[in-house]
Amino acid sequence: MHSVEFELNGQPVSVEVEARTLLVEALRDRLRKTGTHVGCDTSQCGACVVHLDGRSVKSCTLLAVQADGRRVTTIEGVGDGELHPLQAAFREHHGLQCGYCTPGMIMSALDLLQTNPDPDEAEIRAWLEGNLCRCTGYHGIVRAVRAAAAEMRERS
């Protein structure tokens, strides 16, 4: 067993895991952060996207031991007491239907907006290539990301 310590949504956490334990398993099963979903478990669908040291990664394709000493942010950590502008925009612009892909979509889009605060539609679609929505609600998702980007630009 390995003792893994990292910062989760701003708080230090410690968890005992096997070497083969995936980060998403540690987050969901051990640390009860169930907002991060497992969709395909084969690094294709993006439902499990979290941030590692501020960049989006697929937590089903990362070992929990690889997060040791790093900074992990999940969907539970973006809101700061109220909905993050991306969460609010997904609700407002019909960016979710069943909601299963939503946490991954938001964590992925948040990574994009950190480096590109004003992406156009093509850039958003290209960036979200690794996030699949089985409801096929992509129009609403892209609208939501653009609206959130505008709101975040206004606030900064």
Binding site: K58, T61, V65
Partner: protein
């Protein structure tokens, strides 16, 4: 996946030592191929030696050649001002690998050590006449790629960096698998100090050059100069994504597009 011993290496020397101590050990770089392979139980290493903590293997330096550390991610190469300024075709290639999250983890060294026949980086390494530096030697691209998932690397040899000479101009074009974004076929074309080079990935067991196209483009660097050159399908890959004949056709189409991209 089956369980294994995990070690985070503190130095390249320590990683080499760990690899030498266990014949079934594997290096973990970005893990974008290795971890999915282990989940499917297609690989079962008894030990993983993680290079993730070795910051000395990470980063881009220089303009000519551009030297890229083995643990530099595809996303970092795609966003690097040095790479974009010196070899924009290489930055573009890196930005077209997989998806954003794969690019945030996957590394140059990992891609080259794995040598997937459909990977993008081998086309740039062979096309740009790059040199692969390991913990014990420097390997010219020509000597590095040996066959299907086969390279010149010894079991306890670790890629440290890759040195890409700046070409006069270069271009890359690929036909991406719509699900994985791997290259069904990808062609890298470059005018280098040592002549015109055309490197093809995705089509064969590993990346290869096309002498006939190189000769034609040396005379006239234009898409039209490739007219009439037939690429034989005999030894090309055939799978559920594309037949060998279709891949042979794609090589011609993508070589023209790569030349057009290089001409700007």
């Amino acid at each position: 996946m089956y369980d294994f011993e995990y070690h985070r290496a503190g130095s390249v020397e320590e990683a080499v030592e760990r690899l030498g101590a266990s014949p079934e050990a594997k290096i973990l770089a970005g893990g974008m191929t290795l971890l999915p392979t282990m989940k499917l139980r297609l690989a079962q290493p008894e030990t993983l030696v993680d290079l993730g903590g070795l910051t000395e293997l990470r980063g881009v330096s220089g303009g000519d050649p551009v030297v890229i550390g083995a643990m530099t991610t595809h996303g970092e190469v795609a966003a690097s001002a040095e790479v974009a300024g010196s070899i924009p075709a290489l930055a573009g290639l890196a930005g077209g690998i997989g998806d954003a999250q794969v690019r945030n983890r996957g590394t140059l060294g990992g891609s080259l050590a794995n040598s997937d026949p459909a990977a993008d980086y081998p086309a740039a390494v062979l096309g740009l006449d790059a040199t692969i530096r390991t913990n014990r030697r420097s390997l010219p691209a020509e000597q590095y790629f040996r066959g299907l998932f086969e390279t010149a690397l010894e079991p306890d040899e670790i890629i440290v960096s890759v040195s890409f000479p700046k070409p006069a101009r270069a271009g890359y074009a690929k036909f991406a698998n719509p699900a994985s974004r791997y290259a069904v076929v990808g062609v890298f074309v470059a005018e280098t100090a040592r002549g015109l080079r055309v490197a093809v990935t995705g089509a064969g067991a590993c990346v290869f050059r096309l002498a006939e196209m190189e000769a034609a483009l040396s005379r006239d660097f234009s898409p039209q100069s490739l007219d009439g050159i037939e690429v034989p399908a005999d030894e090309l890959n055939e799978d559920l994504h594309a037949s060998a004949e279709y891949r042979a056709h794609l090589v011609g189409v993508l070589a023209r597009r790569a030349v057009a991209a290089a001409r700007g």
